[in-house]
Symmetry: C2
Subunit: 108 residues, 2 copies
DNA sequence: GATATTAATCGTAATATTGCAATGTAACAT
DNA sequence: ATGTTACATTGCAATATTACGATTAATATC
């Protein structure tokens, strides 16, 4: 059906899944990495860097912005994007929590 | 088109996105968490725990197994699943790397 | 062997995602 | 004012994902 039954799961599970999903595309990973490395950049730079059409990049940026992972400010005709540090640290903590609990022993 | 242009991105980006994608569903998050907490469990237990149909759970388990995140061994009519610790640590390192590099200063 | 139990697989429907061309919009430039 | 530049949005096609009923395969039990 293509629709996820979020009601069956708790908030942490849904939240983690939501952020994992947005990271779950190499273009969005590349955008985040680029923003981290350069601290900021304009959309045109990303369109040049990655090999995707402008409309596609814009769409990926929209998804990252929807989850508040990045911020954008208009600078003339250009738009400057950067990581939303507060959110980044929040999501980072979410993943660290998830990965820090791991089984010591194997079985099966 | 629904198809990701993986050729445009580097191995790390594609790998991270791939694992993020599989974590990007609350049912699979719940399965992983349950396996971590109980160290191991059979499919039927998961079907009882989460509120999804047996076929759906089986499908999610298949995806986790496809990425080698979990292992399953047949035990009579049941199948016992557990975390593949080696892979778990590998993926964990991938995400720690990704999140450990973050910008000190904000902009925009 | 017949039958129950457990889980994987198949088939299908509904929805989501990815990607881009075309178009729209806002700010700047001349 | 007109054109230009930089992005966003719209509309669409192709593919992927989610979910489940029905069926199948494998092992137990009687």
């Amino acid at each position: 059906m293509g629709i996820t039954k979020t009601a069956l799961f708790n908030d942490t599970q849904n939240e983690l899944a939501l952020y994992a999903k947005v990271i779950g595309h190499p273009a969005r990973v590349a955008i985040l990495q680029h923003l981290i490395q350069t601290n900021q950049c304009i959309t045109g730079e990303l369109v040049g860097e990655l090999g995707l059409a402008q409309a596609t990049i814009s769409q990926h940026l929209k998804e990252l912005k929807a989850l508040d992972l990045i911020k954008g400010t208009v600078e003339g005709t250009a738009v400057c994007y950067c990581i939303n540090q507060a959110k980044w640290l929040e999501v980072r903590a979410l993943f660290l929590d998830f990965f820090d609990t791991f089984p010591i022993n194997n079985c099966c």
